[in-house]
């Protein structure tokens, strides 16, 4: 209950500043532009081609898939996560208001979960245009609903991990700019882990492949819901939340 109250207050405070609304507006513009571009491309280029060769592919493959696989979506979510990292805990530490939370009768777990839920809510709101826009295709064509739901789940799971990374990065430093940079660094490292290892080792690495974020996101976008992917996302969230609790505890224990 306390965690929910903390989350609600944090969300209200985030909503008061211009940064969140500015970012939400920008993301909507990006999402709409990219979506319309993909539809236009499909109508003028792919549709006649698909009819000519009698291909089973349709909007689900040629619009929805690239829409969710776009680097624009990842960039927008990273930007949102970096913005959140600047304020969640780093700003509380910098301004001294963390002392109020640490001296209050609440546990570090309640504080961390409250902040996490706020970050999750905020990032989910930012991702809303990406979740909703493809559903408008239903007005003009037949949609693969299950596949679209799977892609939406993928975005939400990605959001849940980015929120946890932002929270953890924010707990590491009292400098908001450093927290933002750390968020981007950790998230990019996790996303491109397999590609990096591949480039160095000169071949695929099973461990790096399993640990990389995008290798678990892409199957969901393609409509493949695997329990191993969901467990992977849940473990990442739990790990970063646990690291944050530990980091906050270590502020009391500082050596």
């Amino acid at each position: 209950m306390m965690a929910l109250r903390l989350a609600w207050r944090e969300l209200r405070l985030i909503g008061r500043g211009p940064a969140f609304w500015l970012l939400l507006g920008l993301i909507q513009v990006f999402a709409a532009w990219w979506y319309l571009l993909l539809i236009e491309q499909y109508r003028s280029h792919y549709e006649p081609l698909v009819v000519r060769v009698n291909s089973p592919m349709g909007v689900n493959d040629l619009v929805v898939l690239p829409f969710y696989g776009s680097v624009l979506l990842l960039g927008a979510l990273l930007l949102g996560a970096a913005m959140l990292a600047m304020r969640l805990l780093a700003d509380e530490r910098r301004s001294g208001s963390l002392q109020l939370l640490l001296s209050s009768p609440i546990s570090m777990t309640q504080l961390t979960v409250g902040k996490y839920l706020a970050a999750l809510g905020c990032l989910a709101l930012l991702a809303l245009p990406w979740l909703l826009l493809p559903w408008t295709l239903a007005f003009g064509t037949e949609l693969d609903t299950a596949r679209l739901l799977s892609a939406n789940l993928g975005v939400l799971l990605l959001v849940s991990v980015l929120a946890a990374i932002a929270l953890f990065a924010s707990s590491l430093t009292a400098q908001p700019a450093t927290a933002a940079a750390l968020t981007v660094a950790i998230a990019v490292a996790l996303m491109g882990l397999n590609a990096g290892v591949e480039a160095v080792a000169g071949g695929e690495d099973a461990v790096a492949d399993y640990l990389a974020l995008l290798s678990h996101y892409e199957p969901l976008v393609q409509g493949l819901i695997r329990s191993s992917d969901i467990i992977y996302f849940a473990l990442l969230v739990l790990a970063f939340v646990a690291f944050t609790i530990r980091q906050l505890d270590s502020l009391r224990l500082q050596r």
Binding site: L100, R252, L253
Partner: protein
Amino acid sequence: MTSSEALLHVDGLGRHFGSRLAVADVNLHVARGEVLGLLGLNGAGKTTTLRMICGTLAPTRGSIHIAGLDLIEQPALARRSLGYLPEIPPLTQDTSVGEFLAFAAMLRRVPAVRKREAVARALDRCGLEDVAGRLIRHLSKGYQQRVGIAQAIVHDPALVVLDEPTVGLDPRQVVEIRRLINDLRQEHAVIFSSHILPEVQALCDNVVILHDGRQVYSGTPTDDDSQWRYQLRLQTPPAPDALQVLAGVRSVKQLESGLFELLLADDSEALDGVLAAAVSAGWQPREFGRCRRTLEQVFLSLTAGEAAA
């Protein structure tokens, strides 16, 4: 005073940062209605001690009991009886005063039905009713400090801990904050740190002086009762040695030509002996009076090592 009345009981508190000793063997005892002043030079360990009392820093050794509850064993319960104003007030700049106090009340587990009343009372006690709807960032430093104190008392805690509550304020604001602290003693035990001696002297029932992390004095702010000192002015003064050899004289310090500070044994015979000797030797005594060591003198003598360094 029995220990059951103690709202704060600190025993053998110590803290290391790596190999550096920040606080060692601090013992504090504060009862309801009492104001305890924590004095010390910058870096003496005042903030570290207060942070440990408020649970934002874990002690290396020692125990802390707040309203009878062990802060280390039962942190959440013990912190309900605690209100803390850190050195930098922990304010949320983008909220209104009333909204911030409601949040502080929620954090301190004030029941929802009593929250409005608790906020109104804190606003009233700290003279903030007129600015309740204003954003904290638009308030002057003095008002922000008051909001800091209001958040510390909004849940009516047994113990109020204030870390340098008057630092950076103008003289009028200092007087207002002092008045507020004086009012707090009616219902709470208060502990506050400062390095402003007149402030401590004006407000505190007891004083603890920290130096290099160690507790070097604990007592009333007006005097070290065991040491009675006298000032003696002589028209025809002898060498200080001539006073030193008189019976009952423990030490002699020449303050200026003809003016001596004597530390006597605490009995009337020593006093009579000195006066009789001064008259019979023809030193022509002109003034004689008892002087108590001021807090400033006690403080400066106990922290002399730092000053010399």
